[in-house]
């Protein structure tokens, strides 16, 4: 019944459109008038015609009412942004989808279209976007099951849902690269493809980071750390948070016990480079850390709190600028310029605007404020600051409380809050300022409590470090592909190691003889020196005879001694994978036991030589879990602690060698030495359970060897696998030894080392 009434109410014009649409869905009927109204406001009359024509088409595709409804609602906006020709592209793509096994993707496609359009802005871009989708769908649809395109693309609907997010952060080109990456690596794994395209998997996020525009925190972490240390004598963990996903509530920088949180990326803004924006943010927080005190806030209203914050922010910046005058310019470029005239606007809460005016006026000597109370407060602020130089958080609080009292307005309580040009986005959220006395049902304190608990969990395990991995098929690195977890190796019984040393005391004696020949401080005599430490009598007499007999004497009658110095840093990387538990051929001992003996003797040897030396062990259980255990650090001696770790050596899981070498290399790289050597002791080829292609990790490890060489690190493999010849050369070139008789390892390892470093 009601249908009839509504139709009856339609104007002739609307009725004509309705008839063109020729549609029986009551849901469409219900929204139709509203949609036409919007379309007429946004589109040309021809545009409205096309809009209706295409809607009719979509309504008749036989895929239900939903595509039609979304089209009716979204299409006018999209066409108004990028032009009306897009309406046909939308229709065509919907047609394409509807005749295809991927017809379900039509809904997310249409749903996300308006948001996508807002990021892309132009017809060409949107057109490209659709091409990218087609391409993706082509590849991911066909490849699931051979020849028949029977299965829809697993990733496409998810991709469409994420598209607005992705495009807010990425250029279209970056988007394309991101999509291509997912297609390339997850074509054969529907589940992983889904994880990737809904931005769940770590590499999805990592690749996205790589494709982002702007200045990435991770790329500048060291510079920021140095900034904080150098200029502020401060340091802390710098932890990035994602700024791409939260649009409603933009997360703010902050710091707490776990570190300083910064956005993962800053675009250049108002002529300020990304790195300078980071510096401004850090400077502001460093200033708080230097000069702010905590305050008890239980008795303050929310308005009073924001006022206290503003005064305190201004105070620490005032002090920071005194220290580093260049900061004023930086802060000024980033601080919004609030519009005082808007104070007149009725019915909105102006608390934020008044405070922004105050803050700007303090920062900017050229900024004029008419508002008397604000002017007065600015004046008081400067009087306070010029008194003894630093003032205090508490003094700011009293200025702030009197400011709130004086400027209070009825409208402050209005639910509609004026926000324009009041957000100072380089300032942190000031959570460090507050102390709550009343524990209890306060949400924030409960939250704090939770935070603390999480912190405890995190302290026990270091966060993983991510390393890339080389894919030889595509000649391409997979970024942040492998997660390496480092931990101190558990301790065992020191006696085990001391017994090994006893057992091999004869060997140790023999080694000692070679050692003495290698030891630094070995002097070499250099003869024929014009200046030297001693007269070389033979030469001197010869010269004297020459002189007396009237011929030209050789003046180089001295000799000197030179130290044959060693400046070597050695990193020993131990394969601790499952296969070491096997008995060595022709021996009653396992490979692990023999390795343990060999490493013990090597450690003893190197300790004698005094070279810089570290030991790490590794194994892996897929790329998500490569474990690296710290057995001996460069700064540690071969003492009981280290011995007890060696004693507890254990073998399990697989051998993802490249990642372990890259990880070990970052320690070796930090060492100062003329020569850097990485010894890899392994019983087999690199492998892991999540890699089917056994060449992949061989190539990756070879790539790691090349990377290390570029860092000045010489890698050398000691391989216990009798079949090693098949692959070890591909990885290490000529830099390897295969030990066939594993029994002899304890003797051989130190000798190999000494030969290498002679």
């Amino acid at each position: 019944m009601s249908e009839v009434i509504e139709i009856a109410e339609r104007s002739a014009e609307y009725l004509a459109y309705w008839e063109t649409l020729n549609c029986r869905f009551p849901e469409a009927d219900a929204v139709f008038d509203e949609c036409i109204r919007e379309a007429k406001a946004l589109l040309s009359p021809e545009g409205v015609d096309t809009y209706i024509e295409n809607a009719r088409f979509i309504g008749k595709m036989g895929r239900g009412v939903e595509p039609l409804l979304i089209y009716l609602e979204e299409a006018p906006t999209v066409a108004s942004i990028v032009g009306e020709p897009i309406l046909d592209d939308i229709k065509d793509f919907c047609l394409f989808l509807s005749t295809n096994t991927n017809f379900k993707a039509m809904i997310p496609f249409l749903q996300s279209l308006a948001a996508v359009t807002r990021s892309l802005h132009s017809y060409e871009q949107l057109h490209h976007y659709i091409d990218i989708l087609k391409n993706m769908l082509d590849k991911t649809t066909a490849s699931v099951h051979g020849h028949h395109k029977t299965f829809p693309s697993p990733g496409l609907p998810l991709l469409l849902e994420q598209a607005p997010r992705l495009l807010r952060a990425l250029s279209l080109e970056g988007f394309k690269n991101w999509v291509d990456y997912g297609v390339k690596y997850y074509n054969n794994h529907p589940e992983r493809q889904k994880d990737y395209f809904c931005l769940q998997s770590p590499d999805a996020v990592a690749v996205m980071q790589r494709e982002r525009h702007g200045t990435l925190m991770i790329d500048h972490e060291r510079q920021l750390d140095l900034y904080l240390r150098g200029l502020w004598q401060d340091h802390d963990y710098l932890v990035p948070y994602s700024s791409a996903f939260d649009e409603l509530r933009k997360p703010m920088p902050y710091y707490d016990k776990l570190g300083i949180r910064l956005p993962d990326v800053y675009d250049d803004k108002d002529g300020v480079s990304g790195i300078d924006r980071y510096r401004a943010t850090l400077a502001h927080m460093a200033a708080h850390r230097r000069w702010s005190n905590q305050m008890i806030v239980d008795n303050w209203s929310p308005f009073q709190r924001v006022a206290v914050e503003t005064f305190e922010d201004s105070r620490v910046e005032y002090l920071a600028i005194k220290e580093f005058p260049g900061l004023r310019k930086l802060f000024l470029s980033l601080h919004p310029i609030p519009n005082e005239d808007d104070l007149e606007i009725e019915g909105e809460s102006m608390v934020r605007l008044r405070l922004a005016l105050l803050s700007r006026a303090i920062l900017d000597p050229d900024f004029e404020v008419k508002h008397d109370d604000i002017r007065e407060s600015v004046k008081r602020f400067f009087i306070e600051m010029e008194k003894d130089g630093v003032s205090s958080s508490d003094n700011m609080a009293s200025l702030a409380l009197s400011f709130t009292a004086r400027t209070r307005r009825q409208t402050d309580l209005s639910p509609k809050i004026y926000f324009e040009n009041t957000e100072v986005d380089y300032r942190d959220d000031n959570r460090h300022l507050w102390i709550y006395i009343e524990q209890g049902d306060d949400e924030e304190t409960q939250f704090e409590h939770l935070e603390e608990q999480r912190q405890d969990d995190e302290v026990n395990a270091l966060p993983p470090r991510h390393y890339h991995e080389w894919d030889y098929n595509s000649q391409h690195y997979r970024p942040d592909w492998v997660s390496v977890y480092e931990a101190i190796h558990p301790a065992g019984n020191v006696n085990v190691i001391d017994n090994i040393l006893d057992k091999h005391s004869a060997l140790a004696k023999r080694l000692k003889a070679i050692l003495d020949a290698l030891k630094p401080q070995q002097k070499v005599r250099i003869r024929y020196q014009e200046e030297g430490s001693e007269l070389d009598l033979d030469v001197a007499i010869r010269s004297l005879i020459d002189l007396k007999s009237g011929s030209q004497p050789d003046m180089r009658i001295n000799m000197s001694h030179k130290n044959d110095g060693r400046d070597i840093a050695v990193m020993l990387v131990l394969d601790l994978s499952q296969s070491l538990n096997e008995k060595a051929k022709g021996s009653s001992q396992t490979i692990l036991e023999l390795s343990q003996e060999a490493v013990t003797l090597l450690a003893w040897t190197i300790e004698q030589l005094g070279d810089k030396f570290a030991i790490g062990g590794f194994n892996s259980n897929t790329r998500h879990d490569v474990r690296y255990s710290h057995i001996k650090g460069f700064s540690e001696h071969f003492d009981n602690e280290v011995k007890s770790r060696l004693a507890a050596m254990e073998a399990k899981y697989s051998t993802r060698m490249g990642a372990a070498m890259r990880h070990a290399a970052h320690y070796l790289e930090a060492q100062k030495a003329d020569k850097k050597l990485m010894l890899v002791l392994t019983d087999g080829e690199p492998a892991d359970i999540d890699v089917e292609d056994d060449q992949l990790l061989i190539h990756d490890t070879h790539q790691a060897v090349k990377e290390l060489a570029a860092q000045g690190i010489y890698s050398y493999c000691i391989n216990l696998d009798p079949k090693a010849d098949e692959y070890v050369q591909d990885i290490f070139g000529k830099q390897y030894t295969v030990i066939d008789n594993v029994d002899k390892l304890p003797e051989k390892l130190p000798k190999i080392f000494m030969a290498l470093t002679k």
């Binding site: 140095l226 900034y227 260049g326 430490s533 007269l535 000197s560 130290n563």
Partner: protein, 267 residues
């Protein structure tokens, strides 16, 4: 004696005391105790010794040590001449003969077998055996031995032997406080107070990075170089980059950070 005159300091060197080091040194000298001055490069160690030599009116013989230096470089050696060989005293021997203060700069750079030749001079014997010449030299009563030593910069390998260390009284120097350092830069170069204090701030920023990619911070010496350049008309920021940043680092991140420090301090 002409030798002595050659080593005498005629004009008063400018030295800004950081504490009571002048009095302490005078006491050490009065007892002829050997002195070790420790501290980072360019913090005023050499200047201090120079000043003390002037104040005490004693000649000063300075030897810059290096790893190629041998005992003969200190003690002396035979040279060839028309009549055969001729002995030539090394600087340490000269100092012991004429009663000078002998300053061995950066002693750790010298090899340990070189360092031991100073041992007999540093205990009650106060003698210097010239083995090759067959002479046992008794040190002049004014003679004093001073060594300098920069603990921050050497590797473990190069540390001084305990038996050497324990023969000296020690003066520990560091970069002066901001106020003192500003005064030094001002007086040494004649630039104004404000400029000097900005230079000192940049120095402080670099010193905070020690151990994070910098082996040594910016020394007082470099600060005076920068000030001298500015005094000579070079634009301050350019002078700072040239005198303070470029010499101390090749590390891009550190350079960027220090360049930024210059920008933000000289705004």
């Amino acid at each position: 004696m002409s030798n002595e005159a050659q080593y005498t300091i005629k004009e008063e060197p400018f030295y800004q005391a950081q504490g009571d080091e002048i009095e302490l040194y005078e006491a050490a000298y009065a007892a002829r105790l050997p002195v070790m001055v420790k501290g980072p490069t360019g913090c005023g160690k050499s200047r201090f010794i120079e000043y003390m030599a002037w104040k005490l009116g004693k000649p000063l013989i300075t030897v810059a040590c290096n790893e190629d230096m041998t005992a003969s470089d200190l003690v002396g050696r035979y040279l060839l001449d028309a009549n055969g060989t001729r002995w030539l005293d090394g600087p340490l021997t000269v100092a012991a003969r004429i009663g000078a203060i002998c300053y061995l700069d950066e002693i750790v750079e010298a090899r340990q077998d070189t360092t031991v030749v100073i041992h007999p001079l540093t205990d009650h014997r106060r003698t210097l055996p010239l083995d090759k010449k067959g002479e046992l030299l008794d040190a002049h009563e004014d003679f004093q031995l001073v060594i300098s030593y920069n603990p921050g910069y050497q590797s473990l390998m190069k540390d001084l032997k305990q038996s050497t260390k324990q023969r000296f009284t020690g003066f520990e120097f560091d970069y002066p406080s901001e106020a003192v350092e500003t005064a030094i830069v001002e007086k040494e170069t004649g630039i104004d107070h404000e400029l000097a204090s900005k230079l000192v701030k940049i120095g402080a920023a670099a010193r905070n990075l020690k151990g994070h990619g910098l082996d040594e911070g910016i020394s007082t010496r470099l600060l005076t170089y920068a000030a001298t350049l500015i005094k000579g008309g070079i634009e301050p920021k350019a002078a700072c980059r040239m005198a303070l940043v470029r010499p101390i680092t090749d590390d891009a991140d550190i350079r960027v950070t220090l360049d930024h420090a210059i920008e933000t301090i000289f705004a």
